[in-house]
Symmetry: C2
Subunit: 257 residues, 2 copies
């Protein structure tokens, strides 16, 4: 039997930790007055599925906890920045995201573009735990911030064999596809109010999706097959602590927003 | 006497090497069809002053040549991406850059935004010499690319004392200001055809500049003072190979575009 209650408690605790880390890493007084727009774009929204996957993977390979949290924050910053830019008028021209006006609607296009740029840069800075110390020691101001990330990522990855990498990569590939299939399903089955973003956009744009190509029922079966494939990859990985990764795969497919 | 001919030969050789490295790092078949726009935004233009400063600094501290070139390419990619985004209609709305239509005029706003985003990401990837090997070994596809940059940056920096860092930082700060002062001077004294970008924009926008605040003659004196300050910092740095850094400071102030 799957330890669902324990998993739910882990999810809540880790989501809270991710929120706290994002709050700390994206200060209101960020340079160039972009802090407010950056916080608007990344805080208090989203299911934090990507950070949860990073944290569960780090746990599965016995990675270092602080390193894993930095990687989780970086992944979410990259995700959030890509949404800010994708929503802009020259791209998808979306006005609603996570139930709020999109960043460019709220702050203007220039602020949205610059805030997205700064979020990408911050993601790499988060991966550089020793940049501050180096700067304090009188390092040159022009050095790019991507310093010493190797130590960090090595710590986050822990000790993993090539076969385990391969199984984790298969897990990630299958789950990524499942995520997209479910996105396509939700676009036609859910209201904008549940999704927190504009529903039905794919249909309006005549965009081919898993639902328009396969039909709704076959798309649902395909999502389940991809989840099974992801979980099979975990089963043959030999990782002892892969339970949370497996339950996250269920969560990705069963979500309603 | 300053070895100007030798310096000019060094500049030509290093600019060629930077161009070749950028050509190699920004392939036409870059993902998502952005390669052409990225190459348009970063190749065959610009004076490459920032890469030259990185390479001269690495030489002054006896840094590792390949590491220095990667840092030089990364700095230029960051510079070029910031120009692509700054030129967009929601920002400065510039139509001319380096004597060519700006990226969004040539390829559209969506391509310009995404190409800029990809250039920033590529800058960090360039700083990760072992990412390819890790990927070939079956590393997970979702790991951020900012891997092992510490080894690289450490190699580029070589052995530098705290006092030398401090002097180099002073040099960089003074030269950065001098660069801006000269930009302001050129905006009012040069034609668009010489600058390769729209001249007179600062005046048209009623933007306060060193020229509008100080006047043209005082701005020129100020640029020379800042160059002297940068060169004084080098003189007290104790670096044995700072000749190219000193001559680059002359070049920054004497340029006409």
């Amino acid at each position: 039997m799957k330890p669902t209650a324990e998993f739910d408690a882990w999810v809540r605790s880790e989501v809270d930790a991710v929120e706290a880390a994002l709050q700390a890493w994206v200060p209101e007084d960020a340079p160039a007055g972009l802090g407010i727009a950056m916080r608007y774009g990344v805080l208090d929204g989203g299911k934090r599925l990507r950070p949860l996957l990073v944290l569960a993977a780090a746990q599965a390979v016995h990675g270092h906890a602080e390193a894993a949290m930095r990687a989780a924050v970086a992944v979410e910053l990259i995700h959030a920045y890509s949404l800010v830019h994708d929503d802009m008028p020259c791209m998808d021209n979306d006005v609603l995201r996570r139930g709020k006006p999109t960043v460019h609607v709220q702050f203007g296009e220039a602020q949205a573009m610059l805030a997205g740029d700064a979020m990408q840069a911050l993601a790499f800075e988060v991966l550089t735990p020793f940049a501050d110390e180096m700067s304090a020691a009188g390092g040159p101001s022009g050095v790019p911030p991507a310093l010493q990330a190797s130590v960090l990522m090595g710590a986050a990855c822990g000790e993993v064999s090539a076969a385990q990498w391969s199984a984790l990569a298969d897990y990630g590939d299958a789950l990524g596809l499942a995520f997209q299939v479910v996105d396509d399903i939700l676009d036609v089955t859910q209201a904008s109010s549940t999704l927190g973003k504009t529903a039905g956009k794919d249909l309006d744009n005549n965009k081919p999706t898993y639902v328009t190509v396969l039909g709704l029922d076959a798309a649902r079966r395909h999502a389940n097959e991809l989840r099974d494939k992801a979980q099979s990859a975990l089963a043959r990985s030999g990782l002892v602590d892969a339970a949370w990764l497996s339950l996250l795969a269920d969560r990705v497919v069963e979500r309603d927003s």
